[in-house]
Amino acid sequence: MVKHSLDTTFNALADPTRRAILARLALGETATSELAEPFDISLPAVLKHLAVLEDAGLVKRQKRGRTAWCALSPGPLKSASDWMAQYQPFWDERLDALAAYLSRNKN
């Protein structure tokens, strides 16, 4: 199993088309050709985005018969949401401390 860094994940997510592709795949496995349809770009451009998503471990591609299928691989997305989760209690505590400090030191 390849270990994907947070930076790779974030860079893959930085593009709106790639995020739209992931949103579509969240609904279920999709044929690559079908995946290209809603986007106003060429199939090769979609394939390029898919390659970035695959490198980041966000998408798995598999050929069955004559059809290439894409599926969401959500592991790295969890790391991204973990990043947010670690800061929530940190900032809650800091802002509580700031509020308490300002109550004591009005000027």
């Binding site: 947070l6 930076d7 974030f10 860079n11 997510l13 930085a14 709106p16 991204a80 949401s81 990043w83 947010m84 800061y87 929530q88 900032w91 809650d92 505590e93 800091r94 802002l95 509580d96 401390a97 700031l98 509020a99 308490a100 400090y101 300002l102 109550s103 030191n105 009005k106 000027n107």
Partner: protein
Amino acid sequence: MTAQPLPPALQLSRRLPASRERVFRAWTVPAEVMAWWGPGGFTAPSAEIDLRVGGRYRFAMQPAEGKVFYITGTYLEIAPPERLAFTWQWEGTGNDGPESAVTIEFHARGGETDLVLIHEKLWSQEAADNHRWGWNSSFEKLSALYSRT
């Protein structure tokens, strides 16, 4: 220019019992930062602040037991008493992680202040640059996206 709203982003808000000039000072004067940044498991033995765009800050954090570590970064926007933005990087934690960005808005509410804090991952240098120049518009979009708390 309009910057993309870039998830993941964390947004918190607090009503604070002081004017926004007062709250802005609490974030930008070293002695003030040291007074409130600390309580809660660690102290803040030092705070260095070079308050200009491109200037750096470095806040120390000292756990009750354990080595001192730092939060450091560069000021991206300084607009007293309305807005403050800076990059965010841990230093000395053993696992400092990627650089991120914090934007703080100070909204006047009578004599009090609504503070809105957004902490977001910086995706790339390009994204960071977009943020620098598109901060206002991106903030409105981010507010719309993440203000459902």
